[in-house]
């Protein structure tokens, strides 16, 4: 059974239909890259998956859990949305670290707050030590153990993005989404962030990466979606997409992107 199943997702902003019935699915451990020109709806799709936008219709299912059904208003209640969010993680283009917390604080803030809530409900919860240890382990994975007491403003862009990745992983999402994680970085820093993302693949994480880095999409993704004007124009293995593009839009997009 597919881990993620998105069916006929539609999203309007006012009268503009930004997502026009998007459907796809992915398996556990897969890496899905989404490519497409500016304004094609890639960010909007990720934001709908993370419930930062509410889709107008369609459904989202992760494993057994139906997380969203556009026909049922019950899926739009804010407490339900908050719970459903934890199936997904999101890494932003602009990092969005919390400036007033250290690296460790950024990683542990949400976990500490939810542990506190959990105590009230069940009396049982993850201890601060356990949370910190998990954070240290993740920082080691993104190669930043030595920065755990630094503030975001003291880090390079690449380091900030690696912290943001570790922060998203703290909540053990089933699916980790990246929205152009390296667009705000220069080439040197891009490499270190992409290396980290590639490293996560071997760790059996399921990921969706919106990217303009064609080389990365080709080498790391198991499957690629090409979006144009709010629809999935083409979907396939990197080989199929890059070597045998079918639609003329994809062909001209690749021509532009690869030259």
């Amino acid at each position: 059974m597919a881990l993620l199943e998105v069916k006929e997702l539609k999203k309007y902003f006012g009268d503009t239909e930004v997502l026009k019935s998007v459907s796809f699915s992915m398996e556990r451990g897969e890496v899905l890259a989404i490519i497409g020109s500016s304004g094609s709806g890639k960010t909007t799709l990720l934001r709908c998956l993370n419930f930062l936008e509410t889709a107008n219709s369609g459904s989202i299912r992760v494993g057994e859990h139906l997380l969203f059904d556009g026909d049922d208003p019950a899926f739009k209640s804010s407490s339900r949305i908050r719970r459903n969010r934890l199936f997904f993680g999101l890494v932003f283009q602009s990092f969005n670290l919390f400036p007033q917390y250290t690296v460790l604080g950024n990683l542990t803030l949400a976990a500490r707050l939810s542990a506190k809530d959990q105590t009230k409900i069940t009396g049982e919860h993850e201890s601060i030590d356990e949370i910190n240890n998990r954070a240290y382990a993740l920082l080691e994975r993104v190669g930043l153990s030595h920065k755990c007491d630094a503030y975001p403003c003291e880090l390079s862009g690449g380091q900030q993005q690696r912290v943001a990745i570790a922060r998203a992983l703290m909540l053990t999402p089933d699916i980790l989404c990246f929205d152009e994680p390296t667009s705000a970085l220069d080439p040197e820093l891009t490499k270190e962030v992409l290396r980290v993302i590639r490293g996560l693949k071997s760790g059996d994480n399921t990921m969706i990466v919106v990217t303009h880095e064609m080389e990365f999409a080709r080498n790391v993704a198991d499957k690629i979606i090409f979006m144009a004007n709010g629809i999935i124009e083409e979907i396939g293995t990197p080989e199929a997409i890059f070597e045998h593009p079918q639609s003329p839009i994809l062909q001209s997009f690749l021509n532009n992107a690869l030259n």
């Binding site: 930062l52 908050r82 934890l86 932003f92 969005n96 919390f98 400036p99 949400a110 909540l171």
Partner: protein, 227 residues
């Protein structure tokens, strides 16, 4: 010399009232201003316009006028001056003080609410969204993530307003609050000496210097997080 000490002691007493008015105004107007700023962003539009209209009126009229309205209007409308109100037990000084305090709180809350609104609107949307995707509640995001950033944004305009407040307390004299200027003019009336009136300036200056120093410290503390 004994004159100088006596005058100083007398003025200090008045300055106590000045400080009381100052601190109590801050104590109430900051939370009230925060409430107003949140209400002025409410989804329900009639309510939002009501709040914004109120803020507009308060900011567009002189504080001096508002003071007079609060202190004298009850006497005209209800035929019962503030001093007769049961809560004050006929205590004239207390009733005038509370009337003035009320006017100051409303006035400054409106100014603060506009500063807060600007401070909140200047926070990058990504900060809210980062909190949301981490499963935090709106309240948690506000208090744990946003608030300190708002404080940083509003520090400069707030310190201006607060220093203005120190000086504005002198207006309370017009509604018989015995603050430092009132005391100085009493001395002038009774003892015919004028220098204490000018001497009051020293009190304001020293206190404002302290505040400026304090704001400097806070700014230094916060600058650690933002380069």
């Amino acid at each position: 010399m004994s004159d100088f000490i006596n005058v100083t002691l007398h003025l200090l007493e008045g300055f106590g009232t000045t400080l009381g008015l100052f601190f109590l105004t801050l104590l109430f107007s900051i939370p009230f201003g925060l409430l107003l700023s949140l209400c002025s962003k409410a989804r329900f539009s009639p309510f939002r316009y009501l709040i914004r209209g109120f803020i507009y009126i308060i900011r567009g009229t002189p504080l001096l006028l508002q003071l007079m309205v609060v202190v004298y209007l009850p006497g005209i409308v209800f035929q019962s001056p503030l001093t007769k109100w049961e809560m004050f037990h006929g205590n004239t000084a207390l009733s005038y003080f509370c009337g003035a305090l009320f006017a100051f709180v409303i006035n400054y809350a409106c100014y603060f609410s506009e500063i807060f609104r600007g401070g909140i609107e200047n926070i990058p949307k990504g900060q809210f969204e980062a909190g949301e995707v981490l499963g935090m509640t709106k309240t948690q995001i506000f208090f744990r993530v946003i608030l300190l950033q708002v404080i940083r944004n509003i520090l400069a305009p707030m310190s201006n307003e607060i220093i203005t407040l120190v000086k504005d307390t002198a207006l309370a004299r017009t509604v018989s609050v015995v603050e430092i200027l009132f005391c100085a003019s009493e001395i002038l009336k009774v003892d015919f000496i004028i220098w204490p009136l000018f001497y009051t300036g020293v009190f304001y200056l020293v206190f404002n210097a302290l505040l400026t120093f304090l704001f400097g410290c806070i700014e230094k503390k916060l600058s650690r997080y933002w380069k």
